[in-house]
């Protein structure tokens, strides 16, 4: 019987499971394995400069392509560098496969004298769907197959596998490969199990919706995971039900579609607040009602909403909101079932629905006008909204895919974005972690070969993985980077403005020329300091076939108005604990933001937070 070593077993397992892309970093102890994988696994191998970035690249690739992707790194620090990317994948339910080498001696000695022998896999425990460890080549096929299966079950999530270096060097009987199925297609899209809903819960849901006066569909990230956008648009459009999306549901329905209430979550301002406060029946599809969504509870949500919760993971039912009806099943399949049931019964939207829809659309229109007018005012430095509008135009002209990174920057990008397709905007919404931008741009560009990828990033976030500009340059990826250069960790600086008497600690970033940094990497770049230069910059960017960067200098005194909602939800009562005298003083000191900005914010408080909208026009 022929014998093969562990590296070869791993290569064959990867091939059998159809893991077509591997992201890694060259490292001592790993190079030999990578060489075997390049030759025998059938996977494409991509090299990053740092393991944090490699993991995020794999995550980005998996998000956009919905195909299998893995990250592979060495042990210790190189393994723990995966944690950031793995956690993003965990929070956003991405079936990422994370593989690392691990200390060879085994965790039984953990907390003994030898600190190098720590329980590496345990670090991942809180943030993975499954984790395992192999020390013999024979164990590899089964463990990897289990990792892949676990990562795709139900709501999906990352799996982490530790491999002892000894297991790669040891040899095994070729028979161990008999466990594996014939090679899977590495380019196959990971399809969720298309489980239909049972008729009882479906009928209950239909009855509840039909009786509603102000129905609302609330679409979460699960809609995208299930590729259910078409079904969602059809149901909403043909039967006249308005749709709001959660932050991770961005693009589940294009924001400019006539039944979408606008941008995702609070970035839709008063429209979103009104929708979730006033709706009487909410059909929640693929949404988790996490903390950011205020758990689906008052005071953010209306107190008397009847929820219908559709999800492919029964464990989320009743955890936060308590739904009237729970529908277990694949999101797309259930939406299609609902559509069929409605159309079979010849249903058409009652007058109350139409009035409700028109009301929300009026709010949407008003908000858009307010935002656009404000951004286009004659500001000294280009307004972030202006940048976002320009970027949106670029996106349409170039048919680009957007990757977002930053604090305020994503809020601007979301508020002003044109109608997005479900696979056209990427940000790690669950963790809201900075620094994914550059690596996600790499992963997304590799997944969407040929399409232009546009990274819109805050200045603070941009440098997290700046070394990978070399990777972008080396692979000559069509990535256009727009830096919102406000010389600040601005989302947090805003907090010091409002509550801490404008005492800036660790929130100012010294003026930095990001165009110069890009040029250092051999990437053409341009710096914009005035709104009038914006068109020229877009032209310049459009003229490049490879990577390009536009460094846009903006004013840190500007804030996205929806930041207020996010802050209130995140901090709950904590802000009321601050010394009121200091808060008042802060407000007074903030008068330097000027009348226009103050009025803009006050408008938001009135319309969105307090919900004071022209009710008389509602006709309800």
């Amino acid at each position: 019987m022929a014998r093969i070593n562990g590296s070869q077993v791993l290569a064959q397992s990867i091939k059998a499971l159809g893991i077509g892309r591997i992201f890694t970093v060259r490292a001592p102890g790993l190079d030999e394995l990578v060489e075997v994988l390049e030759q025998e696994s059938g996977a494409q191998v991509f090299f990053a400069h740092d393991e944090v970035a490699a993991t995020l690249m794999a995550d980005g690739f998996a998000r956009r392509s919905r195909k299998a992707a893995a990250v592979l790194t060495g042990a210790w620090g190189r393994a723990l560098a995966q944690v950031a990317g793995v956690t993003n994948a965990w929070a956003d339910r991405v079936p990422l496969i994370a593989i690392s080498l691990c200390p060879d001696v085994g965790p039984d000695n953990n907390r003994g004298w030898n600190r190098a022998d720590f329980d590496q896999g345990a670090v991942f425990a809180p943030v993975v769907s499954w984790r395992g460890r192999v020390s013999l080549p024979e164990q590899i096929p089964k463990a990897l197959a289990k990792a892949v299966m676990a990562s795709r079950a139900g709501r999906m999530g990352p799996a982490h596998l530790d491999i002892c270096p000894g297991a790669l060097k040891a040899s095994a009987d070729e028979k161990v490969l008999a466990f594996l199925l014939p090679p899977a297609d590495p380019d196959a899209v990971i399809e969720p199990a298309r489980i239909p809903a049972d008729s009882t819960s479906l009928n209950q849901a239909i009855a509840l919706i039909k009786n509603a006066k102000k129905p609302l569909i609330f679409a979460g990230g699960g809609v995208k995971a299930s590729a259910a956008s078409q079904a969602l648009i059809a149901l909403a459009g043909d039967f006249g039900i308005p749709v709001a999306t959660s932050m991770s549901g961005i693009g589940a329905i294009p924001s400019d579609s006539p039944f979408c209430i606008g941008a995702p979550s609070y970035t839709a301002g008063e429209t979103f607040h009104a929708a979730i406060r006033e709706a009487d029946v909410v059909l929640a599809v693929g949404a988790a009602f996490s903390g950011l969504e205020g758990f689906g509870l008052p005071p953010i949500w209306g107190a008397y909403i009847a929820f219908i919760h559709v999800d492919n993971d029964p464990l989320v039912f009743g955890v936060n909101v308590s739904p009237q009806v729970c529908v277990f099943g694949d999101v797309r399949t259930v939406l299609e079932q609902l559509y069929q049931a409605f159309s079979k019964s010849g249903f058409s939207a009652p007058a109350a629905w139409k009035a409700w829809h028109e009301y929300l659309m009026r709010l949407k229109k008003g908000r858009k006008k307010r935002l656009d007018d404000f951004a286009k005012k004659n500001w000294a430095k280009p307004h972030q909204g202006r940048l976002a509008l320009a970027v949106g135009r670029f996106m349409i002209e170039q048919d680009a895919i957007m990757v977002i990174d930053g604090g305020n920057t994503p809020l601007y990008a979301a508020s002003y974005a044109p109608g997005l397709a479900p696979d056209q905007a990427f940000f790690p919404f669950g963790m809201a972690a900075l620094g994914g931008g550059v690596p996600y741009a790499v992963g997304v560009a590799l997944a969407a070969r040929g399409r232009r990828v546009m990274l819109v990033t805050g200045d603070g976030s941009f440098l997290y993985a700046v070394q990978e500009l070399e990777t972008i340059r080396r692979l000559n990826l069509p990535v256009t980077i727009f830096v919102n250069n406000d010389s600040a960790w601005n989302m947090i600086k805003a907090m010091q403005d409002s509550f801490f008497e404008c005492r800036y600690v660790g929130t100012c970033i010294p003026e930095t020329d990001y165009a110069k940094i890009a040029k250092g990497f051999g990437i053409p770049a341009m710096r914009v300091t005035k709104a009038a230069q914006m068109d020229k910059a877009l032209e310049f960017a459009a003229g490049q076939s490879g990577p390009v960067l536009v460094d846009c200098v903006t004013d840190c005194k500007n804030l996205p108005d929806s930041l207020l909602s996010f802050t209130l939800v995140e901090f709950e009562g904590s802000l009321t604990q601050l010394d009121p005298k200091k808060v008042l003083k802060s407000l007074w000191m903030n008068r330097s933001m000027g009348l226009a900005r103050s009025r803009h914010m006050a408008d938001y408080v009135r319309k969105a937070i307090l919900g004071i909208n022209p009710r008389q026009k509602r006709g309800l």
């Binding site: 723990l80 809180p126 972690a433 900075l434 340059r473 947090i492 970033i509 604990q577 010394d579």
Partner: protein, 516 residues
């Protein structure tokens, strides 16, 4: 009466314990802590460009100053970046205090799908000495004391504190008396006194070492760098016994003639050096770590062991006494102090070991051997007060080989086996902690790229006491499209760069490079 809050109480407790630097990127939940730091005259936040480097900077600061410091990252999002960096503190025995906010205490455990949240305390538990949650604002000073004691006592290491945001923001109205009670004078969290060895074991060790003609000292983690590293070093120099240092205790007898027998890394890799090691008839092991243990194991393969005297502050690290093996429970400095008078080695032995090691190091320096002239040119500018950080195995060997006779304040061998590319952030931490020293970072290019962004941080901080030397820098080949040019990249980030023709090597610094 004074209005305060949990965050301010925490920061005051840190300041009271002498913590001066906090390496951190802010998050909203850290608002009250940051504000308190901003108002405290002795404290400062140093902001890197990723939380991973915050922890590594903290490592560099602590390792080079002996003072504990804080690495702080925001809930979830920041913490997950920090883990990889904080692992270095665990592996390198450094007392870094990691602090992170958490979501509200009433919904943090177990995890409940809060934005950014995860079970952070569990994330840190496998590689910290202590990972706790502060549920009570007025108890935070007590918790800080406990955490620092854990970090500093015995063998140092990192500790972690999670504090929920509602506790950090919670209003605390304190009377003067309450305040005094809350912030009692600093507790003695830094017990670094001696743990004296059992006289019987010490006596046996004394007899054995006294008979040895070819003794060697192998320092593993020693006792953890920040505590009694210097004291142990001067004892070893006094004994004039050849000392091999594992990477974790590098520089403990730096450039001491006839004493500094080079890094364990060299012996690990070079068979000729290993032959000398095998010649020894008595090995004194002071605080073993993974690397020194491996070396010992390698030495003992297939031959009868020489005598091994093994001193540890942690009795768990000792083996049972056996023929030729003398375990001594006690702190390595005290143990060695009791052995000092015993050393009576053969005359030329120490020199022989040191020379063999230096030769082996030179041969292992690989491509770096070509840049020998660069090292020769650098050596004269290195002052007694300066620090050297070497990143990557070749850089470590080259530093040992070519700068091994240049005395300086401290040398840090980051051999890249466990943590990759820590050099740049580590050197920045050292530069922040030692404003009167010049820091020479000798880094392999691969290593430098891991945390390349921090070059921009060095510029932002105006760290003119940092010079980056990259002996194998990849420079653009003229006419080759797309070949990365490290010099141009660093220049783009605002550093002053110079190509050293004879390498070619790259020298970069903030402002004007120190003359090389």
């Amino acid at each position: 009466m004074e209005i305060s809050n949990g965050g301010e109480i925490l920061v005051t407790a840190l300041a009271r314990q002498g913590v001066k630097k906090v390496f951190s990127i802010i998050g909203g939940q850290m608002g009250t802590m940051y504000d308190a730091i901003g108002r405290h005259p002795d404290m400062e936040v140093i902001t890197p460009r990723s939380e991973a480097s915050a922890a590594l900077m903290a490592c560099g600061y602590t390792a080079s100053t002996g003072e504990p410091c804080v690495s702080m990252a925001t809930v979830g999002a920041g913490v997950v970046y920090e883990t990889a960096g904080l692992l270095m503190a665990w592996l390198d025995y450094l007392p870094v205090l990691s602090i992170a906010p958490q979501v509200q205490s009433y919904k943090m455990k177990p995890h409940q799908e809060n934005l950014q949240a995860c079970d952070q305390d569990l994330l840190f538990a496998p590689f910290t000495k202590f990972s706790a949650i502060g549920y009570h604002a007025k108890r935070l000073p007590q918790l800080v004391d406990r955490a620092l004691r854990e970090a500093l006592c015995n063998i140092p290491g990192p500790v972690h504190l999670d504090v929920p945001v509602d506790i950090l923001f919670e209003r605390q109205v304190l009377t003067k008396a309450q305040k005094e009670r809350l912030f009692v004078p600093p507790a003695n969290t830094r017990y670094q006194g001696a743990v004296l060895p059992d006289p019987k074991a010490a006596k046996r060790a004394f007899e054995i070492l006294g008979k040895a003609k070819k003794p060697l000292v192998l320092v593993g983690q020693g006792m953890g760098r920040p505590t009694r590293h210097k004291e142990l070093g001067s004892l070893l120099v006094k004994a004039k016994i050849p000392v091999i240092t594992s990477s974790k205790s590098s520089g403990i007898v730096w450039a001491a003639k006839g004493v500094d027998a080079g890094p364990a890394l060299v012996f690990e890799q070079s068979p000729t050096a290993m032959r000398i090691f095998n010649d020894a008839d008595c090995i004194v092991v002071l605080g073993k770590d993974a690397q020194s243990a491996k070396l010992l194991e390698k030495a003992s393969l297939g031959k009868t062991l020489p005598f091994v005297i093994h001193a540890e502050i942690d009795p768990k690290a000792l083996d049972a006494p056996s023929k030729g093996y003398v375990p001594v429970w006690g702190d390595p400095a005290s143990v060695f102090s009791s052995l000092l008078q015993a050393v009576a080695q053969e005359k030329a032995w120490a020199e022989k070991v040191c020379n063999a090691s230096a030769r082996a190091a030179a041969s292992l320096a690989g491509d770096f051997a070509q840049s020998r002239s660069l090292f020769d040119a650098t050596a004269p500018s290195i002052g007694a007060n300066d620090l050297i950080v070497a990143d990557g195995p070749k850089a470590c060997c080259a530093t040992a080989a070519f700068l091994g006779t240049t005395p300086c304040q401290g040398v840090f061998m980051l051999d890249g086996q466990e943590i990759a590319g820590a050099g740049l952030p580590f050197a920045i931490g050292a530069a922040v902690g030692n404003p009167n020293s010049h820091i020479y970072l000798i880094s392999e290019q691969r290593a430098l790229f891991h945390h390349l962004r921090e070059a921009a941080t060095a510029v932002c901080l105006g760290l003119e006491n940092l010079t980056i030397i990259c002996p194998d820098a990849q420079l653009a080949e003229p006419g080759v499209e797309g070949s990365a040019d490290t010099a141009k990249i660093l220049a783009g980030m605002g550093l002053t760069t110079r190509i050293f023709e004879k390498g070619p090597a790259l020298v970069a610094s903030v402002g004007l490079a120190r003359a090389i």
